[in-house]
Symmetry: D2
Subunit: 467 residues, 4 copies
């Protein structure tokens, strides 16, 4: 009865289409030095990297196959050290900038980009730009010299050594800085908008004949950049959210009768943190995300669901993403200083609705509301994210040294790849697939009513990051 393999010939593929990444070799003569410059401090002898990759090494974006799957295969360029360098290390000057909100792992990326450049490639200099793009030209924000001493141990600290600040993007002034300091590599750590800025810089460099590689490293605590298995900092934030959920469980079980704990988590447009925190905890009874409508009462209502849970267990725990419930509360027209629209106060709203609903049933209930806010994003990266940051940072440097530009690095199907920035900004922010496994798991764990409209499974569903 046991066979090891059966041939599934109808899944044969005709062609693989690889998303190409621009390379400066096409516009500027490369130095073509051999990539053996990993000078080992210990022995002084040069040491080759284990495996050097070519321009056609790729990984399949879609490795799931089965009846009815398309035959056309997309692939992404593998990241890793290349045999020939575009830039001579001794002339390599890098600038690093972090933009937008804090995210666990920022310092780790800064540490490893610097370490790989200085220690492994022997680059000339690494400059840390303070306070986002504005730091290129804001007189109050003096750039930092990033040396090995300056980044020693940095990876284990929360926040970012470089700070971040609101908005600002003056292309000409940025290019002026790059030219003035003879920058050859620009590493930009940030989200969607930041990547669009990085792409503009990359194109402007090409147009103005500046031999500068621009590399992106996607930073989004919400895990909402498309294609990626996970963005750095995400697992740390899910871990950090557990503290709040544990407290919610304690409060709910101890506040008699009918104790309910509510935890608000980050997630403006996608509920990944809320959903993953729910799965990681296993003690949540209701998880509200932007991707599934909130229904308060009736058959699919979350309030009767909570009432049933409380009647059964004596208490209940709710996790709500900050962006959930817009369909209920209405989107605000206001925006904050960074241009993000102000979110309705869904946490407090739910707290009031629950109290009101229980009162209507003649039952006491004083829900406890917990908003861990910055306590989820300002912690140091956990071990998994440290490793991810290291992988991304090393590979960004490998790629830039080889002349790639206008790319971002990411983990896709468990391998680090180079992705053209234009590809990744086209489809972000990614949302939780309401017909995918993750949402299904939330329902199966919480048993909450599924408010996503029934839809027969057909056609290609959105790509889920991991399942």
């Amino acid at each position: 009865m046991i066979r090891h393999c059966s041939i599934i010939d109808r899944y044969a593929f005709d062609k693989v289409y690889m998303c190409e990444v621009p390379n400066l070799n096409e516009a500027f003569p490369p130095c073509n030095m051999r990539n053996d410059c990993m000078t080992q401090q210990s022995t002084g002898e040069p040491s080759l990297w284990n495996r050097l990759l070519g321009p056609r090494d790729c990984i399949l974006l879609e490795h799931v196959c089965g009846p009815g799957k398309a035959r056309k295969l997309k692939a992404l360029l593998r990241a890793g050290p290349r045999p020939l360098l575009h830039f001579p290390p001794k002339e390599t000057v890098a600038a690093i900038v972090t933009c937008g909100g804090l995210c666990p792992g920022l310092n780790s990326v800064i540490h490893y980009v610097t370490e790989t450049l200085l220690q492994n490639y022997g680059a000339r200099r690494v400059i840390g730009i303070k306070g986002g793009f504005g730091g290129f030209y804001d007189a109050d924000l003096e750039p930092l010299e990033l040396t090995m001493d300056a980044v020693n141990g940095l990876q284990n600290q929360g926040g970012t050594l470089l700070g971040s600040s609101r908005g600002g993007f003056d292309l000409d002034k940025i290019l002026l800085f790059l030219q003035k300091h003879e920058v050859t590599h620009l590493y930009v750590i940030g989200g969607d908008g930041t990547h669009r800025g990085a792409d503009k810089i990359a194109h402007a460099c090409l147009e103005r004949k500046l031999n500068i590689a621009v590399a992106g490293i996607p930073k989004t605590i919400d895990n909402d950049v498309d294609l990626l298995d996970r963005s750095f900092g995400f697992t740390t934030s899910v871990e950090a959210a557990q503290n709040a959920i544990k407290v919610a469980v304690t409060e709910a079980t101890c506040n008699l009768p009918n104790g309910i704990g509510i935890v608000k988590l980050m997630g403006r447009s996608s509920g990944f943190i809320a959903a993953y925190a729910t799965m990681a905890s296993g003690e949540v009874d209701l998880c509200l995300v932007p991707e599934a409508p909130i229904v308060l009462e009736g058959d699919k209502g979350c309030l009767p669901h909570l009432e049933r849970v409380v009647a059964d267990k004596g208490y209940a725990v709710v996790v709500v993403a900050e962006g959930a419930g817009e369909e209920l509360l209405g989107a605000s027209a206001e925006t904050d200083a960074s241009g993000n629209k102000k979110l309705p106060k869904i946490g407090e709203f739910m707290q009031a609705k629950i109290e009101e609903y229980f009162a209507k049933q003649g039952k006491q209930c004083s829900p406890k509301y917990i908003d861990p806010s910055y306590m989820v994003r300002s912690v140091p990266a956990n071990a998994s994210d440290q490793i991810l940051c290291m992988q991304l940072a090393q590979n960004a440097v490998h790629a830039a040294m080889a002349g790639y530009t206008s790319f971002t690095v990411g983990m896709v199907n468990n391998k680090v790849v180079l992705i053209p920035i234009s590809l990744i900004t086209a489809t972000s922010p990614r949302k939780l697939d309401p017909y995918g496994r993750t949402w299904e798991r939330i329902i199966s764990i919480t048993l909450q009513p599924n408010t996503v409209p029934f839809r027969p499974v057909k056609g290609a569903a959105p790509r889920e990051p991991e399942h």
Copy 2:
């Protein structure tokens, strides 16, 4: 200059070969009930799973492609809920057993296997076998009734509710128990040896016409089961090891002059924990694993390397896997009560050698030795492992309900798959590829001399879990 795709036609594939998983439908008539029994406590209405999988849904094992890659593709069966059940839920009785040493996440797997069976499928009963295989017949080890109440919150505790104990495997008595209690599902959580036992039970059931699905869930804190991206508990142990490394850094920096901190970590035959802990820390200067020979002195010597590091930074930190250095110290013929061979005391050995070497150079040095031992394995699973345990547990239940047997579940290329047990036991324990990216990264971070013999890159290298 920017193009999105280029056709790489020489990577076209002819055929996909899928490793088949035995199914009880071939030997016993299935009940063929529709898998819509996820009775929602809240509403009472049945709810279909989002996506039901067929017998040919698979994922490619090797999704890396490029010049010179083989055209023959191996694939693994995707895990997930199936449209038809083999077992009627009301007649489903499951037994769960955990074998071998502790590993973070054991209680989480127990929690989610039980929850999925009772809460999502409405199974009749779940029995927890205490103390490993012996618990099936040892009169002192009364089985536990696993109810929803019994497993509530269990997932957040270290250890295993079921305990584990040394050896023991009496096939006949195990089958007797299964028959006596009308068990239809057996979930076996353990390592290599345990999986071989599970496979024997599965085959014996088929031979004796017992309609029982046997599912394995691979448990190895060392991450040394082949094919898998990572085994549950591994990232938690890497995280837990950080505490010891941090302390080693503090001791090393504070014990003047020439402070050195040494941390011993788990890893009998493979150095994954040591290597990943080194990458996650970023503060380690020497990482010793079983896969790379230890050279004490000379050009490639680790002692002169430490001397250089100490001269440069003032201190150094060493991580050593318990199984490293066998080529130096010799393998012991002795074994412990579980049949594992006794390991030479590499940690104490290195401590003595370092002290001796520095003394020979006329330098003071009193290395501080830290053995966190069980503090790495007895902690609760972190958030990432919680989610992994949930994914594995749910999918083991889905597969068993559909009649699959003699399989194990694992995360491969970021998707959960079903793997025939025989396939996974054939190639384990997996070792760190000394010519792979992970080892390369250790060298690039620590700058320690690479003692792995130079080998030109050719042929297929061993599969690395993640990079």
Copy 3:
């Protein structure tokens, strides 16, 4: 030059006045069994306690002396095992009740009261009353049987096994319960109001000739019960607050320019948590408490102070007690369901004022506001509090077994004492002495302007808990 002692004869004291604690021996005949009943499970042989205390063993409340100190000395009765028992252990039935909000250590007190009674004294039974005083008669709240198994490991969990709930106190129904279940000891864990209730029960028992000892164990996370060195749970909450302060430091340093982090901590009428958290952190630049008025602008203004700090360091961190600023915002007439008056939103107020003030100076500033709320009180007790809870619980039992009633236990000058409840409720809630060492230390660390009006040192200052 070195002398060891000098006689300070003018400090000689005439008399010591000890605050007496009522004892049931005066109203009911004691059993007078010898207190040797600590049956050691191991050996079966009775074992005397190390030191048995008499009715005149006391500690001085004021052990500070010097010129001008009063000669009349107050003393408190020492807690500890006594030679003779009032209650025969076999007839001892205890009830435990926890009231009011959560506080770290509640479960620890429950654990140790139960353990001391059952394991050390061999008491007949311990009953856990659920949900506060209401649990004595609320049909929905079934009492728990507290056995050794039930409390095993309980001490390491946050919250309270018994739950708590709002208000309710029906003296007659409580006495009815006590009589019906033949309760001889009542342990009441709670704050001021709860202690007043306990005192009423104690007096009613005496009046109605019920031979029942009523013991209080003061619970106040705010550390605002007078006389005590510290109340249990307080150091844990100060510790827990550090997480929020660390995050505030990270946010402040990383949000350029002029980053400011604000942390709101508990403390309705006294600022002990805020003050101690400030001292424990050493990274706070402004600490606002109810005991010192908030001045916004001008010479003593906290806003110009923050501006100076930010100009100097680049960032600032603010800690504010929830009850601070009433003089600024006005007290609300509203109360919540527990009868506590609603506090003005001082945290959000300060956030707005800071933003406004910086804007007025033409400076950017977006203060980050963190309210860890329940994350400070729902955590398990730390080691220090565990030991304190054990000391209080054991001594409450020792005293009740010896017949003392209407008392509470507390740590005073580093020794556990018995205090008549009436004495402790008379002077609570205690406030931070604005002319004491603690507030002086806040000023010396933060360098914030001292808004407390200047007052020449004279007369007896309020008693500070610790310095």
Copy 4:
């Protein structure tokens, strides 16, 4: 029945004897500047300390009273700011040195000594001596300039910025350094031996007419300095030990049958850490300390006790202080490089004995041994210890500014006092009182046989730190 006070006139005291602390005013003319120099950065206006203390402000060492207590009272000088300064701040140069093993809080003491001197008193300079006393003259150990920037945030890091190293004490060279750098204050942080060294320096300064104040701050993780309520770092180490004990509980409960977990903790000659960790955990069944003999078998044997516990609960947890069992294993004549005698390996010995004993009874048992070693001492100070360090550091500075010398600071009866060094070195190391409350509590919690010989309670028992 309720009375508040009764006069206990037979406790009246005749005299108070205060242990005097040497003051440099007697040998050198003081500057007698008013202590109003706390220049508030914010406002520039001088601000008096809240309460200035005189030379006769003291606290009673023994505040316990009762029948038969001695009438002669010892007192200690209170610590705090004094009205007049001995040293002009602008001429104050301080040196700080840390000696001996690491202890949580060292960096906190360094931070607060520096901050109080520079920020509150406006001292000229603070010099950090590296590597213990040897750092005064070892050419390899360059002193650190301690500025406010250098110590910012330092308090939250484990270890010591200054490092420590083995032995070395050259009085003449130390004095040479002090003179050369015009040092006026020397702060010495260390244990017994270090304090004896500090005392020698203080006396030599007086003899050689050097106007230098020498202040000790007692550092002993073992809490074995006499008189003190607790030494800094002690509660942190007890807290840190909980991680190891938790793991031991998990291992013991999960390793069937007869699981036993053993944790070795620090404590060469006194068992305070082991005893307090046992009390803080509440899950320990056997606690072995140097102060109570280890009896293996028989009526008082710990092995039969463990057998009974395991038979009852299924598992057992053992905590053993590293210095326990010398009477069993014999003291070693060997010493390590620091001159400490080598301890017998009591942990491994107990592990072997337990296994052997169970085997003799025909029972399986594989005890798990955990030695957290440096993981208990290299962690950052917890909140309680942070505050203690701040109190000690500030008061050491206050006292030195007022001219006191040859003293140490400590918390006694919950107040900080100044103690002549000679007094504290005379009676240390302190041991756990085997007839005191702490040991009694260990017995009452673990129910282990009390191996301390019975002794009727009489006479004055040794002073316990806290109960």
